[in-house]
Amino acid sequence: MSKINRQSSFWVSLISVVLGLLVGAVAMTAAGYSPLLAYGALFQSALFQPYDLGETIRTISPLILTGLAVALAFRTGLFNIGVEGQFIMGQLAAVIVGLKMQLPPVIHALVAMIAGGLAGALWAFLPGLLKAKRGVHEVITTIMLNFIALYLSNVLVRTWLTNGADSTDRIADTASLQWSTLSALFGGARIHLGILFALLMAFFMYYLLWRTKWGFELRAVGFNPYASEYAGMRVDRNIIFSMMISGFFAGLAGAGELLGTQGYLAIQGGFTGIGFDGIAVALLGGNTPVGVVLSAVLFGVLTYGGNNMQYAAQVPFEVIRIVFAAIILFVAANVSGWLLGWFRSRKKGRVESHA
């Protein structure tokens, strides 16, 4: 796990991003599209209009949280591939609170968010427990729990939350994370306060892991459970704890999406993929809070702007996924570090030969 938490420098990441965009350009050119037109449309639509900017930020918010969820687990030696399921549970809990409880404005939203976070934490508790007590690989349990969450959410929407409808009613306005002043600022976009939660959690993760004694334990257990046990730390408890915090982040992501963006919960035919994107966000961000935020911004911009590429340049959105893949590969294989090294040595060689 040491390598996975390696922090790559800003330049290395930036070069990887540029290389990744180049790969996308090649894919587009090969298929006869115009990359310039496409990328132009992408960035223009993601950033230039207040409305789009607001929507881009909205896209970024859950990515930060699911990225943090994966990153925190990685930091503590766990692979939480179940963010997707914890996300769904977060949505479910938030919609239940949003529909079934009556509370004053701000409090209602807060309670719903916390309920979502806790539901995610609870959903991550089981894999944590099984890992800690029975040594069951968390990858299997979390994959299974993703599917269970999906079906559970669907059956509850259909039977308990509605009278057999496809989607629930809208949550009470008191529970909404949308803030009209903010939306108005962004041309009526669905930007919502979820972004504040996301940034807050990024700071929380930093503070927890690197400033508190619990974080010290979590990291120690992640790096070396045997030495942690020797040092008197409760390895099993820490595994469960870290799965639950990870799940909490994921649950918040789901709750934020529900209370801020959607406002209702619908029957789902499959996963949203925000949880899986979180894996990529975390890895690209080197599993640090700041890195996660930055890579979520990148992913968010590409994802939201990518929708416009098809419209403006007829380029299928999927080329964005190819770009993601290339960026991740380049960062992971440290291709840019390698290139930089090669470039420097060439420059040095030239200087020497001149001397």
Partner: protein, 507 residues
């Protein structure tokens, strides 16, 4: 005839020249010792000879012919085999599979295990290397694992054998056996390069010794013309004292009292069976025994890392049986673990963090829920200076330190917590004489401060030198107590092998 000639070998690692224009000449049929401090460059040189590393400069001649050894396969073809410092054995494989790996006899695409087992058997009979061809590596003793390593080289027809610190992990009997084996091999016409930190062994069986310091050859000379003191001085670059000035122990109240202790190992087999042991304040009790007789489980039981089946452990009169490690640590137990990489350090944490591994939550390192990093680093800085841990700074990850310095750091941490009972398990394994000297002094210091020290070591010398009393462990029981001042190594060896005590002092 010179079978191996290495000329002007240089190998650089980032930030260090591990081998600096080294010349080494090994004659046919000799046992040639390589001696040097930790990090002197011995393993690096041998890895080059075995083709694992490529030298930056220099040339190698085997049996007079210049060669380029680009990989272990080439080395094998040249008749070079190596028994590595850290065993190169695949744990879940059988002995036979490990030996034939990479050179499997096949028929119709299928590995001929029957035939291979037969070959292994023949080889092991011929050289007196007892192994069970069908046993899994993870189930056999370290000694047998080493014999498997030797068989691996012989199976490939090696006649130049490199042994990198083979005795560091062996019990005395096993060392004797190994030495017999080495003599046997030489009689069969093999040549051996032998790395060890133990001067006694060099004096016992080697013909020539080459001393390396900081990557350079200091001297190469026939063993007959030198002695231990001179070798030690050559190696370290100064005089080394072998004797510890030890005043007689001033024993006080019992600190550790163990009664009728039973502990199971990882596989659920009883490893400690009704063991009794008492350690008093102000004494060092050594535990002598062949590896695998319950030492590990005993330590783990005392420190709370393993559940106790029955019996009791008391510390300063308080029952600590089956308490959590943290409680036990807090009640005054320090522990230098036998596996420093697995238990002792979080290699990816920096030195500062490692120095407070057990105490991070206490004042002044913690305030409320937050860690007080300035205090942590201050404290670590102090320890590092006090114990002469060689590290660039306290922010350096533990992984970057040499084995000796890692060990010093652990000892600094444990001793500084000022525990009433200090458990030292294999505290000097693999370390050079300089480091050993330092650690021995620290242990005696603790004793003199009135602490109880429990020393577990496979190194008989060490046990004899440091202990005030020696308990011999055999099959999970203390089978006898001996007085280190009067007992002979032979008597101790017999006891360790399970023969009932006829001499010895009672508890």
């Amino acid at each position: 005839m010179n079978v191996v000639e290495m000329r002007g070998i240089t190998k650089r690692f980032p930030g260090i020249v591990a081998n600096d224009r080294i010349d080494l000449t090994v004659k046919q049929g000799e046992i040639h010792a390589l001696l040097g401090e930790n990090g002197a460059g011995k393993s690096t040189l041998m890895n080059i000879l075995f083709g694992l590393y490529q030298p930056d400069e220099g040339e190698i001649l085997i049996k007079g012919k210049p060669v380029r050894i680009t990989g272990p396969t080439v080395a094998n073809e040249l008749g070079i085999g190596m028994v590595h410092q850290h065993f190169m054995l695949v744990e879940p494989f059988t002995v036979t599979d490990n030996i034939i790996l990479g050179a499997e006899p096949t028929k119709g695409g299928r590995v001929q295990r029957r035939l291979a087992e037969q070959k292994v058997k023949e080889l092991s009979d011929r050289y007196g290397l007892r192994v069970d061809p069908r046993a899994k590596i993870r189930d056999i003793s370290v000694g047998m694992q080493q014999r498997v390593e030797i068989l691996k080289t012989l199976y490939r027809g090696a006649d130049i054998l490199i042994f990198d610190e083979p005795t560091a992990v062996l019990a005395p009997q096993e060392i004797d056996e190994l030495i017999e084996i080495m003599r046997h091999l030489v009689r069969e016409g093999k040549t051996i390069i032998f790395i060890t930190h133990k001067l006694k062994e060099i004096m016992r069986i080697c013909d020539t010794v080459t001393v390396i310091r900081r990557g350079k050859v200091i001297r190469s000379l026939p063993v007959k013309e030198t002695n231990e003191k001179e070798l030690a001085a050559l190696m370290v670059g100064r005089e080394v004292s072998f004797d510890i000035d030890k005043e007689p122990a001033r024993t006080k109240d019992p600190v550790l009292e163990i009664e009728n202790l039973t502990v199971e190992d990882a596989r659920g087999i009883e490893a400690v069976r009704g063991l009794d042991l008492t350690v008093h304040a102000g004494e060092i009790v050594g535990i002598a025994g062949v590896d695998g007789n319950g030492q590990t489980e005993l330590i783990e039981a005392i420190t709370g890392l393993r559940k106790v089946r029955s019996g009791s452990i008391k510390l300063n009169g308080r029952n600590i049986t089956n308490e959590r490690p943290r409680r036990i640590t807090e009640s005054g137990v320090g522990h230098i673990p036998e596996d420093r990489h697995k238990r002792g350090l979080v290699l990816d944490f920096n030195m500062g963090e490692n120095m407070v591994l057990q105490t991070y939550y206490q004042s002044p390192f913690s305030k409320g829920i937050t860690l007080q990093y300035p205090e942590v680093y201050q404290y670590a800085q102090r320890l590092i200076e006090e114990f002469d841990v060689r590290t660039p700074d306290v922010y350096t990850p533990a992984r970057a330190l040499s084995g000796g310095n890692q060990q010093k750091a652990i000892i600094a941490r444990e001793v500084n917590r000022d525990p009433d009972l200090l458990i030292a398990a294999q505290p000097t394994r693999g370390l050079d004489v300089g480091a050993i000297e330092f650690i021995h002094r620290k242990l005696v210091e603790q004793r003199d401060k009135g602490k109880a020290v429990l020393l577990i070591s496979l190194e008989l010398d060490e046990v004899l030198k440091l202990s005030d009393r020696i308990a011999v462990i055999y099959e999970g029981k203390i089978v006898g107590w001996v007085d280190p001042k009067t007992v002979t190594e032979e008597q101790l060896g017999l006891l360790m092998a399970g023969s009932t005590a006829e001499t010895g002092v009672s508890d």
